[in-house]
């Protein structure tokens, strides 16, 4: 429906990221209406820290890149601003410290296969190793860390172990989402918007779309 938003009572932003060996992090933000229909999508080019930055940022590196760099850039450049940003990548929760909109973490759905088990698009796997990305596989993101890719197909531990912040929890659609612990006031905003979201809405599903789009963007970018 574009930006005019006649029926966009409550716009949702689905923000997630991937970590690609040798290339860094890419993030994607899909803004939908309350029914999950896409309004705008935006993704970053890969952001790769150099070794100095890795040393200096230490364990805060992932949170910084995902929340402050990628998250802020995607939110600020969005033409259609979401009323609520959802993420399945816990470090991105830190984005809340830099924007005015509420940010919430959607835990992976127990009934849904973890991103690691989702088949990557054939096109990505078929890429020529010489021409672009090597054969990639997504590592588990069940811990709320960004999905990671490795050549061997094994699981790569996240660079920053997730701490376990406790924030306000709100039911939205089929999921229970957790807000940033330092912004309990977001609960009211989210609850007010939640009445627009169908009770059976699956808030984990749009992240699959974002990941598919990121793979596609990487594939096409690598082919160029």
């Amino acid at each position: 429906m574009g930006s005019s938003g006649k029926q966009e009572a409550f716009r949702l932003g689905f923000l997630t990221a991937l970590e690609i060996p040798e290339k860094g992090y890419v993030g994607g933000l899909l803004v939908t209406n309350q029914q999950g229909r896409p309004l705008e999508f935006q993704c970053t080019l890969p952001v790769k820290p150099n070794s100095t930055q890795e040393i200096l940022y230490g364990p805060t590196l992932a949170g910084f890149i995902l929340g402050e760099l990628i998250g802020v850039a995607l939110f600020e450049k969005a033409g259609v601003k979401p009323h609520l940003v959802l993420t399945d990548c816990e470090p991105i929760l830190e984005l809340r410290e830099h924007i005015a909109a509420p940010v919430a973490f959607v835990a992976p759905d127990a009934g849904r296969p973890a991103p690691a088990a989702l088949p990557a698009p054939d096109s990505v796997l078929a890429l020529d190793a010489n021409g672009g990305l090597p054969q990639l596989k997504v590592a588990p993101a069940a811990n709320g860390q960004p999905g990671q890719l490795d050549e061997a197909g094994g699981s790569v531990p996240s660079s920053a172990p997730a701490e376990q912040p406790q924030g306000v929890e709100v039911r939205l659609g089929r999921q229970i989402i957790r807000l940033h612990r330092a912004h309990v006031e977001d609960g009211g905003t989210v609850q007010a918007g939640a009445r627009h979201v169908p009770g059976d809405a699956d808030l984990s599903e749009p992240f699959e779309r974002v990941r598919s789009a990121l793979y596609e963007a990487l594939r096409i970018g690598a082919a160029k």
Binding site: M1, Q42, G79, E205, P206, A217
Partner: protein, 615 residues
Amino acid sequence: MSDLSLSGGQELVLGATPGATDLATAPARPALVEIFTSGINSALHRFPKVRCQEAAAVVTAELAERWRPNWGGVKTVRLTFPEGIEFLPPPVKRVTGPGQEKPQALAGPQPPPEMPPRKPTRVKPPPDALSLEDRLFYLLQPPLETWLKGQELIMPFEPFHYQYEGIAWLFSQKGALLADEMGLGKTMQTITAMRLLLRSGQVGRILLVCPKPLIPNWLREFKSWAEELPVVTIEGDGARRQMLWTMPGTVILLANYELMVRDMESFGEQPPQFDLVVLDEAQRIKNRDSRTAATARGIPRKRSWALTGTPIENRPEELASLYEFMEVVPPRATPDLRQLTRLAKQYILRRTKDLVMTDLPPRLDRDAILDLAPAQRSAYETAERDGVVRLNDMGDAISIQHVFELVLRLKQITNYDPLTGESSKLERLEADMEEIAACGGKAILFSQWTGCIDWLVARLARFNPLVYHGKIPTHKREPVLAQFKQDPNVHLLLMSYATGAVGLNLQFAGYVFLFDRWWNPAVEDQAINRAHRIGQKSPVIVTRFISKDTIEERIDRVLQEKRELFALVLGEGEATNQSLSMNASEIFGLFDLKARHGKGTRQIGPAPAEQAPAA
């Protein structure tokens, strides 16, 4: 810097930054003579000469007040989705309870609770979508089940999984031939895909062209599956039609083939433009040189869809005309069989009932081989004998039309004897209908001739038959179908192949009679599938009347061979150039026609290789 090194074993040199003091110039210690316990004379103990030496730094050190990481700006790529067309919101009914009133959406496609959750249907980008924007547009659409499930689009009932796949496929295709077997819901899939394209802003103006008798059917289906979509039917006099074609704000235009051809030609060089043109029963453009095909190709459009249950009626080459309309081959292209097969994989979606409708009740075919009644037999033999003699006398002047006339004459006699009114088929039909009516069943009968249908009406009055053929005005046809469905006293619908074989939904009828045979097995299948389609709850019994020892048996034999060939072409892609309907050679072959040749005779008729289709 603390570089310490020995120089010549005697001299210790301390490297220092420029300006450091030379230790050798420091005041000397007082001389002490000590006896070491080791016995070495302490006088031999000497201080090394130490001096500082300038050395260039290996790396230039920089001093700064502070260091800040410079990450630069994060570059992003943005895709904004086009604005879709807003329609009336889904109807909401109010459920009033004690002390409360809450809105409730009308029934969306809710799967039965006992159904296991199935894999959601995702829209895939078509292979010919190359740009990132195009591919992401499709990838980022929600699963169809979510999209349709009562959240925004009300559906009368849950589509089957293969229908979801068909909708997703159509949604992403610019050129598409949906060739599902009759009865699998091409109409519903097309309407829903149109609906999604309109909703997502991909199209804004659609032209749907279909045979004239099917216009009420399409209107009914639109109302059922997408009642919010405004549909305008092209009709009326020339001035009114011109106005309808060009009226701004029209979303879906529905036209029949004849009016499309006539009106588009009147527009000349500036025909109206469309985002999507859909041809129903697209076999109508199988002849690429026909006016219909040329006109359809000339309509400016962005997407081209063709719908047909019989993508190949006669020869695989017919696909080339459809491909040309779909703009997936260059104009006048003549793709060979290998290319046709390759294109089919990308641009044709065909599913058969056997593959997808495992729960559809079976279709039970039975041939009723009937002896002609005595008077019929006499009339038939006289007509055949005289006809063959006449043809033989014509010698090489004989044409396909002459043979055709004889075939039609004989076929009519096998239906009934015009002089005595005797008909073994009628006797059998009456017996079957007694049984069907007693059980409250409904049957459809197909014949090639409207005259035969009218003749039957008078003799089957006790079953309250209704008539549906080309002589029934269009505006009276819908009420006929409605009465057939609703009136429990009406047990029989008499239809002509030409008018009733395509597009109608008569799945409440459990019996189909083919009173005489059509030339093409695909048309017969279409007729049968009016009843044997989605929604049919019980097995459909199909009875083919064949008069024994007549031309009907010979035609049946040829059609059976054709049917087998048809399955071979579409099933395995091993097409041959054989015509699937009866060709001239085959029609000549129905009779043993000979011309005098010297003292003997010789066979008359075209060579077997001739493939000109007769029907």
